[in-house]
């Protein structure tokens, strides 16, 4: 029988294994720039250092695996409808980059501009929301105020009955906002950075710094000392563990932030809905899971897990707003460690140490900033001067009092 000599082992006709997206090089003993943390921010910064400034002698050091921090734990909401001019500038810069990022990276990131609704449930909510819409319009950001009936048209499954304990009185709407696939974004940036010759080194924890007077000269790591012309901290929730080693105080507190997904469902939810007042937000991922979350767990925590009663309350709020979810099953929940600032805005800037740059305090909302921050931080590293988009976010604002209070736009909403 001819089939015998044509015998094909099972699986042999499958396509070749896909190429690896990045190398796993041994660390060199010295680089021009060392970035601590291979989350979204570290990887985007590396990409724009090479792309915009031709700086390629760069290492991104990651203590665990690429994207294993908040980058691949977040709920991927992207928007730019923050209140103040300073925030509008950086988040809108970022949103514009998102709109062409897939072409820039040459990699699918499933960026879907399905719009974001921020619900209002009280008179104060309504006033604050209308004010934010007007502020957004003045900054050239797409923003609309919707009545409950208009909310229902955008998202038919929201319960707009006025009989609710906290009825929906309206919503702000940003049509250009949306979601993306966070792991693809991390991989896309990593692939581009790697192609440019940048070393991404996983399993390499920074354990200390080398200094000469008030100059940073390198880092100590679990894989030996590495000299560096410039060191950039993109360590998100664990930033103060690093800055404590330098006696540098940063006004952030690390909190658990939880999220959850349901089983896969048919498409039922066309947009993103957030409610600061009843404390929950929901979108539906491309695969079909409902993705949900809300504010941080109240206490400081580095445990990458949170308390059950916190998500129990979020689910009560979700079911009241979306009665259709009542019989959905939750599949899993998890948490990241987010670094929260007193004014709910990030800290990005130079430090008292020459050659040391700080990027932290993005708390619950730094995913959307990934391209815009990477672009601006690369500019600061290349020019030793903050890019205009991040200049207002330096540490000095806590001394001058020029705080950028975004609790309204960033407390529960991410």
């Amino acid at each position: 029988m001819t089939t015998v000599d044509r015998a094909v082992p099972p699986g042999a006709d499958l396509p070749e294994h896909a190429d690896f997206l990045w190398r796993n090089p041994e660390p060199k003993r010295s680089y021009d720039v060392v970035i601590v943390g291979a989350g979204g921010h570290g990887l985007a910064t590396a990409h724009y250092l090479a792309k915009n400034h031709g700086i390629r002698d760069v290492a991104v050091l990651e203590r665990s695996w690429l994207g294993g921090g908040n980058m691949c734990r977040n709920t991927t909401i992207i928007r730019s409808n923050y209140l103040w001019d300073e925030s509008s500038a950086i988040y809108e810069h970022s949103l514009k980059l998102w709109e062409t990022l897939e072409e820039d990276l040459g990699y699918p990131i499933l960026f879907s501009q399905r719009g974001v609704l921020n619900l209002a449930h009280s008179l104060q909510d309504v006033r604050d929301s209308v004010r934010r819409v007007e502020a957004n319009k003045l900054n050239g950001i797409d923003a609309e105020w919707l009545t409950p009936d208009e909310v229902k048209k955008v998202c038919p499954i929201v319960n707009t009955s006025q009989e609710l304990r906290y009825p929906v009185l309206g919503a702000t709407y940003q049509p250009r906002a949306g979601i993306a696939r966070h792991d693809y974004v991390a991989w896309g940036f990593a692939r581009r950075a790697d192609e440019a010759g940048i070393d991404i080194i996983q399993d390499c924890a920074v354990t200390g710094f080398r200094t000469a007077g008030d100059r940073i000269t390198g880092v100590r790591t679990t894989r030996g000392d590495i000299a560096a012309g410039k060191v950039v901290l993109c360590a998100a929730g664990t930033t103060t563990v690093l800055t404590d080693m330098l006696g540098l105080r940063i006004p952030v507190q690390s909190h658990p932030l939880q999220a959850l997904v349901s089983e896969l469902l048919e498409p039922v939810h066309p947009t993103v809905v957030m409610s600061n007042h009843v404390h929950v937000y929901v979108s539906q991922a491309h695969k079909g899971e409902l993705v949900m979350g809300a504010g941080v767990d109240p206490y400081n925590g580095y445990g990458q897990r949170g308390a059950f009663h916190v998500i129990e309350r979020q689910m009560a709020a979700a079911v009241e707003l979306f009665p259709v979810f009542a019989r959905a099953h939750l599949l899993r929940s998890w948490a990241g460690v987010v670094d929260v600032c007193p004014d709910a805005s990030p800290v990005v800037g130079k430090t008292p140490y020459e050659g040391l740059y700080l990027n932290c305090g993005w708390g619950t909302g730094g995913f959307k900033a990934t391209p815009g921050l990477g672009w601006s931080l690369a500019h600061m590293i290349a020019n030793d001067e903050p890019h205009p988009c991040i200049a207002p976010f330096g540490l000095d604002r806590f001394v001058t009092g020029a705080l950028i209070d975004e609790h309204g736009a960033a407390g529960v909403a991410h």
Partner: protein, 92 residues
Amino acid sequence: MQLITCPYCGPREEAEFHYGGQAHVPHPADPGSLSDEEWAHHLFFRDNPRGPFAERWVHALGCRRWFNAVRDTVSYRFHHIYRLDQARPETP
């Protein structure tokens, strides 16, 4: 949900308590003499350790009294709970 032992009421569910952040941050003895920098540090800068942390809690849905605790910020385990007029226990 974990049980937190209120020094006045005994063990109660975590949901009855509110968090108050870092403990033992004294009000400046002579507020008028502080520089802007010193005010910034007093108002906005707090320790954020990975490990044991001395912090304030209030039994909001119980006796409504404040107390201090040393809690591990990684395991979330409470090592010590003590009254406001007591010093921070030495270990851990």
